[in-house]
Symmetry: C2
DNA sequence: TGGTGTGAACCGATTCACAGCA
DNA sequence: TGCTGTGAATCGGTTCACACCA
């Protein structure tokens, strides 16, 4: 990668990557910025600009070689390795994430789940073992998971996240509708708050 | 509202609103842009700018009257009314959303769920009835739901969303990792794709 | 001819800095 | 003195427009 890709650009790259996946492995075929733009809801200029962050990889008059571009994006998103996730909190949402097909189809693998409820510990759901959260550190170390999906109640979110950082997790996707979560410098963190998304929609409904 | 609030501003307003909720109803107390900024992870200037979209509502030297600001934001997000949701698809994720406490605490009410699986239809989960998706139009009309949470498999997402629009739903939060969804002009639409969020984190892990 | 790559122009959002008010 | 409100400056991302290349 050459310069710094804007955060919204990363999102678009993920869309491009998915679209190329859906085309299958077409040897020696090309796709234009225009096509890619239409398929993902962007403009052609935007697509070209995004892709030049990876150098001059298109061919004037032809477009981008599908196979090459696809591999490039897989590489950028680490899709050529197994991308390991752990799920913290095996409640309704945690279970839903374990079963969620979207992770599997995108080369993510949920390698462990954790809970503190003795009735859940030891169970295996969709081939994922539910561990005692006490064992977070050893299991994370053993599996080498990079990203944690946090689905615990809001009042234990910060505590659990602190433990995850100690255990060596490098990125956290937090589903708990907690107030302000802090993580140390260098740890990637992202909230996914479904009620805030609904708030935004309702706001738009009322205000424009 | 006076001018147009940027989309990221709406997100921040939602955070302010939540923080004020957490303070409780403190009659005649004030909060400064500085405090609100720290509590929500923003800058004081940003907070003030956001709030001036609602006019000059602060008091120089004192700050913003908590009660007044809280009510203003509740009004903006429609939190004084019951904000009605329907859930489409009563699989793992749909069920998790029905049980999700974040909606309830934010004055959202899930008024109905839908599925096409006969084994689920007629059941009541967390006080929410699961209807046959054939009856979408009549049930949506009767309940007056404004927003739909779509949790069906990716291959039926577009079809279901078309039906929702016909049924009169005005905003859609789509959890299906579908390619490109289109909705008519005027319908508010938002994707929540958890695997893309994970992609972003993994990208950051690998590229900076 | 068709489509990339890219500097320049544009645009919107954030930050700054300070005047003004309680 | 403390904190708001806001125009001006700045920043970053998107779009434009066109030179260039197969």
């Amino acid at each position: 990668m050459h310069r710094k890709m804007p955060s919204s650009g990363i999102y678009r790259l993920a869309l491009y990557s998915r679209h190329l996946d859906s085309l299958g492995n077409r040897e020696d075929e090309y796709i234009s910025s225009q096509e890619l733009a239409e398929a993902t809801g962007n403009t052609a200029a935007q697509v070209r600009k995004d892709l030049t962050y990876y150098g001059s990889i298109g061919e004037p008059g032809k477009g981008y070689k599908i196979k090459k571009l696809r591999e490039l994006l897989m590489e950028a998103f680490g899709k050529k390795e197994v991308r390991k996730l752990v799920v913290i909190g095996a409640g309704n949402l945690g279970m839903a994430l374990i079963a969620h097909s979207g992770f599997r189809t995108q080369q993510f693998k949920i390698v462990a789940a954790f809970d503190r409820d003795a009735r859940k510990i030891g169970k295996v759901v969709e081939n994922v073992m539910i561990y005692n959260i006490q064992n977070l550190e050893t299991v994370v170390a053993r599996t080498g998971a990079d990203i944690a999906l946090v689905c615990v109640p809001y009042y234990s979110a910060q505590k659990v996240i602190d433990k995850l950082v100690l255990a060596g997790v490098k990125a956290i996707l937090n589903f708990a509708p907690a107030g302000r979560i802090t993580v140390p410098e260098g740890i990637k963190f992202q909230n996914v708050d479904m009620s805030i998304e609904a708030d935004r929609l309702y706001y738009l409904l009322k205000n424009d």
